[in-house]
Amino acid sequence: MTSHPAESERTLLSAREIRRYTFKVGLARSEGGIGELISEAYTYVFAAIVLVVMSGAIVLGLRHSLGLGSTPVWSASALSPGFQSLAPLQASATLMLTLAAALLNVQLNLGPIAMTVPQTFWWLGLPVRRRGFISPGFLRSMIWPVAGGIAVVVPLSLGIGSQSSPGLVALATLCGAALALFLYGTAGWVQITGRGRWLGTLAAAVTLVAPLSLVGTALYNNVSGTRVDMSWLLYLPTSWPLLVANGALWPLLLVAVALAVLVLVYANLERVSSASLRASAVASAYVAGSVLSMDASELSKSLSSGTRSGTSWIRLPLVFRSGSQTRRSVLTMLSAHLTMQLRQPTRLIRVLVLAAIPASLASVQFLGNATLIAVVLYFCAHFAVTGLGAVARFAAGNPSVDALMPLPAKLVRQVHYVLPAAGMTLWMILCFVLLHVLGVGSWTLIILALLAGPGLGGATLRAAFRPTPDWNMPAVSTAMGPVPTGAIRSFLVGPDLTLIALLPTLICLISGGVPLLAYPVQLGLSLIGFGWGCRLRKPKRSKGAGGGIQLAAGGR
């Protein structure tokens, strides 16, 4: 036995003392301030505000010149007059089901009982009760599902509750918070026992299918002239807060159930295994990285079940024998990119589902407003852009792979452009055709959207090949640890070009007409998007490096 002297005299520190020490020392070493964060982001925020104001002015001018009446753009319905919208109650129930499934899926992956990767390494081996390490985080992180439950249920209760007295809204909110806590507790129990992982697969499937059911039902209703009865959705536990908003009190039983599950989980916190804590810590770090890179595809993957292992039956030819060497190399690259995309079918399905979200929104009564659709469309387009940019992002992270090809760097970048541009063009067509079927927009708008697709391809590359964050800039101290301000600038590269490439199409969507001038403007912006996306960045010169060129990122 190799023990240190005076072992019997040793006094163990408590988990609380160790936790406090770690945070105290870490926070004391942070150097930046919140002002640094604001100054980093302000140019982008300022530019976005200017862009929105200018766009608003153009929309108003266009509506006036097209003689589209005096109804304000932010309240006018963009749907065709005879369109049968879905009842808000059905839409609310579907939204609740989707969000509940998403919350459960996220919690099952990240684990409500969570630590950071360094904490799992440096704390879990200590001979102290780990409840002291994990219970504060477990209790604190309950805030997020509760806040989410409140944020969703309050507006829905006010919107759909036929007798929405303040008391009923408060009770519905309580029920919504209980629902969120019940899901949180369920995920905690799965984490402790290691049983019930199938719930994650089920929840992931629901998050994909449920939003599509809205546009599917709306189209069926309008084509067949009948109404599909979807009232059963209201009796799913995820809709119980809506029932409370409508006067029913029995669903408040959920509050007691949620409390019981939470007490059970809290009493068993010590049982959670180190392996489970490590897995959730790694998953959380992956999510944090995805959030910081503002990468919707990676974020979606990280929030669900992460990278799957296994083999794929997708086999495309990678060796080409005819034509010049350049042609053969380009074909090999394209084939490799296509193979990588096709081997992630879930990602492609997510991108397709995103194309249907604006139409799903538009199919709901009172939500078929062009401005609202345009805002949602922008976010969906950006998420789709990052989804299709996975291959380019891989290349950005592994530049040596592209360097294997005997091609100039500029050409390699242009080859990376091809699939995202084609994909986003198809995405835009699908999105606007679905909207057109609901009566939003026109064929001329679909043609304009088609022209925007190549510009979004450029945005894909800009987001994927964004510059490395400057980690040498001062960090801002937060309760979660130091946050580097250098990451903020990087965070905003990508969404900017998505907005620029989409601007003419969005303006025409909101204003309700497509003037001839819009086509050359859209084409010009798409060309700019192509050029911007395919531009090769020069490595930054390091200050005082004696003329040597170094990458901005430091560290050994």
């Binding site: 190799t2 240190h4 072992e7 163990l12 160790i18 360094p118 704390w123 081996g125 200590l126 180190s274």
Partner: protein, 281 residues
């Protein structure tokens, strides 16, 4: 108990390195002398002594991912004062065996007992006795080298945290890096810090996954010599290594992990590694 420390002046670890390099050269020379091949089951350098308390007993252990085993069934015991090395080619499942033995991964079948109890790192007694270093590279970005070690030493109830940290920083040649943040350390220095963390705490069983990784030749030799001394003093050591010289110095027994698991003497194992990778070490 206080966790505040005074910073110490830096000291040069060069002398220790020179001595370590000489030792390593001796070990390498010794391991490459022609040896008579030992047959399986031949006497090991230190035979298992049934009188010594048993630290690990693994029975019919099948390890892998899902239900897919990565190597053959393995069974062994480790007593105090023994060092068991797991050797084998990359991907053979050595680290998986290691993680399964210490309860970090679920076994497909079989059982492992540590100090007579089922291996479970949720148990306080387990964490008190078992120190382990895997291929992790995780640090608190805002904590210095000294503060990381302080968490471990104080967390294990060390009475003189500062002296203990001083000794380990000195041994691992990190005295100058005492106030450094992890991102200012080289990869090898971070590895030394992780190893130091296993030594600033009490332990009766030490589990190391390729401890020689990213260490320079001198440091490898120094570490091997120290581990050997601790094993002779009663420590139980379970390690994975690809370095024949390290293995020859430290191990008392070895197991070759592959589709078919074989027991070996350290000399046989060192030769097996050296024949697979003539540049090892």
């Amino acid at each position: 108990m206080s966790l505040d420390f005074q910073l110490e002046p830096e000291c040069s670890p060069d002398a220790d390195h020179d001595q370590g390099a000489r030792l390593y050269f001796q070990v390498m020379s010794k391991s490459r002398k022609p040896q008579k091949p030992a047959t399986s089951g031949s006497p090991e350098r230190i035979p298992a002594d049934p009188a010594r308390p048993e630290l690990i007993r693994a029975e019919r252990l099948q390890v892998g991912y899902g239900n897919k085993a990565v190597c053959g069934e393995i069974a062994f015991s480790l007593r105090q004062g023994e060092a068991l090395a797991l050797v084998g080619p990359n991907g053979a499942g050595k680290s998986t065996v290691l993680k399964t033995v210490v309860g970090q991964q679920e076994a497909i079948s079989g059982q492992t007992r540590v100090n007579g109890e089922e291996a479970d790192d949720r148990s306080l007694a387990f964490r008190r006795e078992v120190a382990m270093v895997f291929d992790d590279d995780a640090f608190f970005p805002a904590l210095t080298v000294q503060e990381h070690l302080a968490i471990v030493a104080a967390g294990h109830g060390a009475t003189d945290v500062e002296a203990m940290i001083d000794a380990e920083l000195d041994f691992f040649g990190l005295s100058a890096q005492r106030p450094s943040l992890p991102h200012n350390l080289s990869s090898g220095q971070r590895r030394r810090m992780l190893l130091a963390a296993a030594f600033v705490r009490p332990r009766s069983l030490l589990v190391l996954d390729e401890p020689e990784q990213r260490l320079d030749t001198a440091m490898r030799a120094k570490l091997a010599t120290r581990l050997r001394a601790e094993v002779d003093g009663g420590l139980g050591l379970l390690l994975v290594t690809h370095d024949p010289a390290f293995l020859s110095t430290v191990a008392t027994r070895a197991i070759f992990v592959a589709d078919e698991v074989r027991r070996m003497t350290p000399t046989q194992a060192a030769l097996a590694i050296a024949s697979e990778n003539p540049h090892a070490g």
